[in-house]
Amino acid sequence: MTEPSVTHPYTPQQELPDHPVPVMQTRSLNVFYGGFHAVHDVDLAFGHHEITALIGPSGCGKSTVLRCLNRMNDLVPSARVEGEVLYHDQDVYAPSVDPIEVRRHIGMVFQKANPFPKSIYDNVAYGPRVTGMKVDSMDDHVERCLRGAALWDEVKDKLKESGYSLSGGQQQRLCIARAIATEPDVILMDEPCSALDPIATAAIEDLMLQLREQYTIVIVTHNMQQAARVSDRTAFFTARPDETTGNRTGLLVEFDKTSTIFENPSDQRTEDYISGRFG
């Protein structure tokens, strides 16, 4: 395998601090589904205006970790979370915290583009409407978000058409526009390009690099080149089978600057995965 480039095509990589200035952090995060221990002791920090990639083989718990960050795992009845998830130094799992409020600050983009069966305009306006957000002019706000998602020029003449009239890549950018419409400061992306062709993927990756100027981004990806191309830091997860039950528990192997992970990993498992020897 050729060594992937780790320089950003968009902005030359700024001096990345050795340790992230965290907007979000996990401390000893453990996740259980019923009796199944899905994720073991994850400590991560997601830096301000950085893109953090979570990579690893299937079943290593990277999506589970992502879904803990905005409490989407609450929707799974048997899910249980131990440890802390800090957002601006507040534990989002504290009893006084309303998960709905959490999700208004931490937006999410999903693997499969899932626009609502409504018009393009109403898709973007949905979040501000349900959250009762005060905007001076919804038209301007929708335009701003669509511009922010690099979609405005393609849809400005058909805002009343269904979101499903768009191509797959456009739908995913619509979902990004919808996510930034509630003005979050963190955006979680769960394999956002896995259903897209390479050209649409490139458009989303460009967009991510633009969004980094304003948002903190966490992305789960199966595509190592993608992690290398867009992310500032990378967390590598793997799955360890339980000796008695055979259930695979995900754990964090290594978390560092992306350049370090890809060029000079300190753990043999990371190196094996990066160089394509397993996974």
Binding site: I100, R103, N114, P117, V130, R178
Partner: protein, 326 residues
């Protein structure tokens, strides 16, 4: 052959084997099964056509005897009165609409509420219990509902009627009333509306719910702003089916709504519906070939056309307003 069988000489020495791609067996059984399946599909269509055809000649005969203007625009109903008969069907149509209105006022909110609860709120256990119970209610014979209306609901209504209300609305209902029949009919239709609406809501892809939750929606917002609009075509279909059942329902109105052809939309009045008229009149007491006999078919045709038109309108509505998520 060695593992290096890919040598050029091997290709020349071993030409491709012949492979037959023609049918290996004639598969007559498949044709028989497909033919049988076609007959099953055609059967219900044929029966519907047959019903329509059997309604048409007696209806034409009726209109040979009674002018359409007398049927649709006079306000006098006495088809069995030999001296001075009246055939103003308007009174029956209004009677039917009266009961249907009260039934829908019960069934649509309760059915939709039950569907939203079952689809979006209920845990696995409560859904496992509630859904079958609801579906059992669908199977209760309508004569049981009719008896329930007459002997249980009517006395209670007479007891608790809000007599402090001014004017006509304050008068307690008699033994027969549109209110009693309508309320019980509404209860009867709840499972239909709930069950079909819930199926439509459960079919909404979970990705849409996830997206809505991810944007900070409450459960109620997810249900009312995303799931219900996405399931609208199924929900409207459940309403239409409910209306059709209400219009066509016979036993409840026969037992509880009375036989007086009053031109009224008040719930506390007794009304004669089209179905009650047909059921009461086709008892064998009337002679074949009398005008009263043909009246049954004319009223039946009106009933058929009403439900048919309603289905057409609802299909058009659904086409126009549904949010497709494909």
């Amino acid at each position: 052959m060695t593992t290096t069988a890919r040598a050029p000489s091997a290709r020349v020495d071993n030409p491709l084997p012949t492979v037959s791609l023609s049918k290996s067996s004639p598969r007559h059984g498949e044709k028989v099964v497909v033919g049988w399946l076609f007959l099953c599909a055609a059967f219900s269509v044929l029966v519907t056509v047959g019903i329509v055809l059997s309604l048409i000649p007696p209806t034409i005969e009726f209109f040979n005897r009674v002018a359409p203007a007398d049927f649709f625009s006079t306000d006098f109903w006495a088809p069995t009165n030999s001296g001075n008969p009246g055939f103003g069907v308007l009174r029956l149509i209004v009677g039917t609409l009266n009961v249907t209105l009260w039934a829908l006022l019960i069934a649509i909110p309760a059915g939709l509420g039950a569907a939203i609860y079952l689809s979006e709120y209920a845990g696995r256990t409560s859904r496992k219990i509630l859904k079958p119970v609801l579906e059992v209610l669908e199977g209760v014979p309508t004569v049981a509902y009719g008896f329930f209306a007459l002997t249980f609901v009517t006395p209670i209504l007479r007891e608790i009627w809000p007599t402090f209300l001014p004017g006509r609305l304050g008068e307690p209902p008699g033994i027969f009333s549109a209110a009693s029949a309508g309320l019980v009919m509404g209860v009867m239709i709840i499972p239909t509306v709930a069950s079909i609406s819930q199926d439509a809501m459960s079919a909404v892809p979970s990705g849409l719910r996830q997206a809505a939750y991810g944007l900070g929606s409450t459960r109620m917002q997810v249900a009312t702003r995303v799931v219900v609009p996405a399931a609208m075509s199924g929900i409207v279909a459940s309403f239409v089916l409910g209306v059709s059942r209400a219009i066509g329902e016979t036993m409840i109105v026969l037992l509880a709504a009375g036989a007086a052809a009053n031109l009224t939309m008040w719930p506390n009045d007794s009304v004669l519906t089209m179905t009650t008229f047909i059921a009461r009149t086709s008892t064998g007491d009337i002679g074949t070939g009398t005008t009263t006999y043909y009246t049954i078919f004319a009223v039946g045709s009106v009933l058929f056309v009403m439900t048919f038109l309603m289905n057409m309108v609802s299909i058009a509505l659904v086409r126009r307003f549904r949010e497709t998520y494909e």
